[in-house]
């Protein structure tokens, strides 16, 4: 059984395929903007919501049917002027969870997602006064961790850069050398101003990380100390998601024409695949639209199941899937609101 969560601007759906075709379940949390899906250490499913009108929250469900809001979710509290706008990502670290949020910050839960506490070492980083938002807001949206050494973490913040910790989040260093900055940078805090869109790592070699940035696609093989461009074969360097299929090691990106246009080049909406670790990229598979298709895919709207399954949702509301590592693509039934997140769900 393959199950994916589809989080949109106006609710969540679940798509399941037991081999006989896709079936849809939803909407859940109708009307709410869905940030991401995750799983708590105790086994409950989690999803996050925000709203143009209401606050941001974490919700939990034992069966993805009835959802209950976590009362003591991430909050900046009354002392200060930061507002919790959205919860972009939830990362499991052993028996703990980390949440990356906008306005950018990290929160941690050590009690199965019941209560959440700010990670002050990150949220009050010495460069914090210089942090500036990208077009999508000022968001901590991606958290990576070395499975062999949980003390080592990487966090992506738009439009600030990649932060690295080797002491379990007690301290953080910026790690963006080699990445082109989209603007002139900050004179007072020269290490910031990088617009990271997405990062993904090789779980067997956490020092190798691939990065879809505002300014192109990059790779590091030294734990983010230095980054190098890897765009050979791509029609454009701009894009949002980057994912890796654990079964084959293949990487996937969806190029868009520059930060100014943010559209598939010439309306040719394609997934590009690299089977050599990012050294070269090629248009993947068959099944993608052969008519002009001017849509996009957001940073959290693409995921893999680790066994050749790659799934993504578009800003136009379509969901696409491959079950063979990108050789063949199919569009799932249904059309949804703008899709913020697509996640493979472990039921």
């Amino acid at each position: 059984m393959t199950s994916i969560g589809i989080g949109t601007l106006k609710g969540a759906w679940f798509a399941r395929n037991d081999g006989s075709g896709w079936e849809l379940d939803g909407p859940h949390l109708k009307g709410w903007q869905i940030g991401t899906f995750a799983k708590a250490p105790g086994g409950d499913h989690l999803l996050t919501t925000s709203s143009s009108w209401y606050g941001a929250a974490v919700h939990r469900s034992p069966d993805m049917g009835e959802w209950t809001q976590v009362v003591d979710g991430p909050s900046y509290g009354e002392n200060g002027d930061r507002k919790l706008e959205a919860i972009w990502t939830i990362h499991r670290s052993g028996d703990s969870l980390f949440a990356g949020v906008a306005e950018a910050g990290l929160f941690r839960s050590d009690d199965d997602a019941t209560t959440w506490h700010p990670v002050e070492s990150f949220n009050e980083h010495e460069t914090r006064p210089g942090w500036e938002p990208g077009f999508g807001g000022l968001a901590a949206h991606r958290i990576l961790q070395d499975p062999q050494n949980l003390e080592r973490m990487w966090v992506g913040v738009s439009a600030v850069g990649v932060f690295y910790s080797d002491d379990g989040g007690e301290s953080w260093k910026l790690r963006n050398e080699g990445v082109h900055r989209p603007g002139p940078g900050n004179e007072e805090y020269p290490g910031i101003g990088y617009c990271i869109h997405c990062i993904v790592a090789d779980p067997a070699d956490a020092d190798t990380i691939w990065r879809q940035d505002h300014t192109g696609v990059y790779r590091t093989t030294d734990g983010a100390q230095t980054w190098h461009r890897i765009e050979n074969g791509l029609p454009a360097g701009f894009g949002f998601p980057i994912v890796r299929d654990a079964a084959s090691g293949a990487l996937f990106v969806i190029p868009l024409e520059s930060d100014q246009y943010r559209l598939p080049v010439d309306g040719k909406f394609r997934v590009y695949r690299s089977t050599d670790g990012g050294d070269s990229w090629h248009e993947s598979g068959t099944g993608m639209p052969d008519v002009p298709t001017y849509t996009g895919v957001l940073r959290d709207a693409m995921d893999t199941d680790g066994d050749g399954g790659v799934f993504f949702g578009t800003t136009g509301g379509d969901v696409w899937a491959t079950q063979d590592g990108g050789d063949h693509w199919e569009k799932l039934p249904g059309m949804f609101p703008r899709i913020n997140t697509v996640k493979v769900i472990e039921e």
Binding site: K30, S52, W53, Y54, G55, Q69, G77, E78, R82
Partner: protein
């Protein structure tokens, strides 16, 4: 004072509640606190981090816009929380 507070359908569905519930309070703020005592999940959706009504949430007392959360309420009054017509750009 016993006051009937009515919340938007989206929030009622969130906490699996009727839209209107009866709470005790001597001011609008106390009425809201009474609502949050029954449904603590709603605090974050009605108020922001500073305890102020969110910019795109409207609050009415007896059909008049609430000027201050400290304004007094009387027995039988109504407090209506609405999703504002603003805020729906997407």
């Amino acid at each position: 004072m016993t006051v009937t507070v009515t919340i938007p359908k989206m929030l009622a569905e969130l906490v699996k509640s009727e839209r209107s519930i009866t709470v005790e309070g001597g001011s609008v703020r106390e009425v809201l606190d009474g609502l949050f005592a029954v449904h603590p999940e709603l605090r974050v959706h009605v108020l922001d981090e500073t305890g102020t009504v969110r910019p795109h949430v409207s609050c009415f007392h007896n059909d008049r816009a609430v000027g201050s959360l400290d304004e007094s309420v009387a027995d039988g009054d109504t407090v209506l929380i609405l999703q504002a017509v603003s805020g729906g750009a997407r």
